[in-house]
């Protein structure tokens, strides 16, 4: 009997201590139903990469600062994404139930949740306890530009936000797989410059000593090229090689439903990636 009691208590104590530890160090998220829409900050990003697929992510927070609480959908709240046709149009139809329902089934995405996720090309990063919502859509190639819609549904009402993806481009230099010395600046060039857009650059590196880093640079108005000193893109040990990924992004800002908190935004992004070896 005593043995049984010991065996029962030990796991409970362990669970209790794990719970306390989680409470000390873990992130917490709150349900969206705690907030009116006007208090929810929505950050939406639609990224089209070289595959042509559009990865849409949405983060909902209770404030504009980085330490704001992330919100998870609750109580029937839902996020949809779609390309070129708004979620509301997919949801509101009469007649031709078979074809319209199939369009909805295949083209309207109910966004899924995951922990905050970043793919830096040479490594990925996950931040647990901070939910974000994502979907992957394949555009109809005949429509240009592709318009990405996100719908937030609450109590049967769908609040829509949208952004047009900027024009596609290709990275000309450096070439993938190059070895580039940090002794001289590296010139990044790309095709089809569009002065109406802004260029941003995510840089990630993983080095021979297993250290890794990532940076975010705003390159400014799209001119088709940028020259970077090693200090701009390198944070590893000076004497070792690193595998570096440049994720070049052409960014266009879009509209967010005005019912969300002021400061919410959406971005449409074309992203191309090149990886090279950075040598001393």
């Amino acid at each position: 009997m005593e043995f049984t009691r010991k065996g029962t208590v030990a796991p409970i104590l362990m669970l209790l201590s794990l719970t306390l530890l989680a409470g000390c160090g873990g992130e917490t998220a709150s349900p969206t139903t705690w907030y009116p829409v006007s208090s929810i900050y929505a950050y939406m990003k639609a990224v089209q990469d070289v595959s042509g697929n559009v990865n849409t992510t949405v983060q909902l927070r209770n404030g504009p600062t980085v330490d704001a609480t992330y919100l998870y959908l609750d109580g029937g709240d839902r996020l949809y994404s779609s390309l070129d046709i708004s979620p509301q149009q997919y949801l509101d139809f009469n007649g031709n139930l078979f074809s319209n329902s199939l369009e909805l089934s295949q083209r309207l995405k109910v966004m899924s949740s995951r922990d905050l996720y970043a793919d830096y090309g040479v490594f990925t990063n996950v931040i647990f306890g901070k939910p974000e919502y994502f979907s992957v859509d394949t555009p109809n190639t005949s429509s240009s530009p592709t318009r990405v819609y996100v719908g937030f549904e609450r109590n049967g009402q769908v609040l829509e936000s949208s952004v047009d993806l900027p024009a596609a481009f290709q990275i000309v230099a450096p070439a993938s797989g190059d070895s580039i010395s940090r002794a001289t600046p590296v010139t990044l060039t790309w095709t089809d410059a569009d002065p109406a857009t802004t260029m941003e650059l995510d840089v990630a590196g993983i080095c021979t000593d297993n250290s890794q880093y990532n940076l975010h640079l705003i390159l400014g108005t799209d001119t088709g090229s940028a020259t970077l000193n090693s200090a701009d893109y390198y944070q590893g040990n000076a004497s070792i090689n690193c595998l570096v990924a440049f994720m070049l992004q052409r960014v266009r800002t879009g509209g967010v439903s005005p019912q969300f908190a002021f400061g919410s935004f959406s971005k449409g992004i074309q992203q191309r990636t090149v990886q090279f070896t950075s040598t001393p």
């Binding site: 078979f98 319209n100 909805l104 089934s105 295949q106 309207l108």
Partner: protein, 175 residues
């Protein structure tokens, strides 16, 4: 078991189909089957049930009424699951010839009033109603005095945008 089946088949063949009436008759026919969409890819076959009732002033000719229920044409192939349920009723005319004691081919022309409801994403997405003409061809197999079975293929075009093709097996009760 084999003996039982042999006896059953022999009985079916030898029993006179005495329910081939010289005059008028009533037929009640419940049936079950599978229905598919021929003009739109992306839906699974739906089962359906149907009950026909007909009055035959002549053995070769009948006036028909029916009710039908399709519990759900479900979407297939990923995406959000949607399902379309259909209830229908209608009237038509049936011709059968020759009125053979053991096998009677027939055709039916009818008109179905239908109500369709699409559900998905945890809600009713939309409803639609309308009417569609249908054509059926089948074979009746009289077995006993009032009892028989039938097999049938049929189709309805433009049921809320879908062309439905279906196959069914049913019972016949002819009075």
């Amino acid at each position: 078991m084999d003996r039982f089946i042999r006896k059953l088949l022999l009985s079916l063949l030898l029993l006179p189909a005495t329910h081939v009436h010289a005059g008028s008759s009533f037929v009640v026919s419940p049936s079950v089957g599978g229905a598919s969409i021929s003009n739109i890819d992306g839906y699974r076959t739906s089962p359906f049930v149907r009950v026909d009732g007909s009055f035959h002033p002549l053995p070769q000719f009948g006036i028909n009424v029916f009710v039908a229920h399709y519990p759900g044409f479900d979407s297939s192939g990923g995406g959000n699951d949607v399902s379309i349920k259909i209830n229908g009723y209608g009237a038509g005319v049936t011709g059968r010839w020759p009125v053979h004691p053991h096998a009677q081919p027939y055709v039916r022309l009818d008109y179905m009033r239908w109500d369709a409801k699409a559900t998905g994403l945890g809600r009713t997405l939309a409803k639609d109603k309308g009417g569609s003409a249908g054509l059926a061809a089948g074979m009746q197999f009289p077995i006993r005095r009032i009892f028989g079975i039938k097999a049938e293929v049929s189709g309805y075009n433009n049921v809320s945008g879908a062309d439905i093709r279906q196959f069914s097996l049913g019972l016949l009760l002819e009075f």
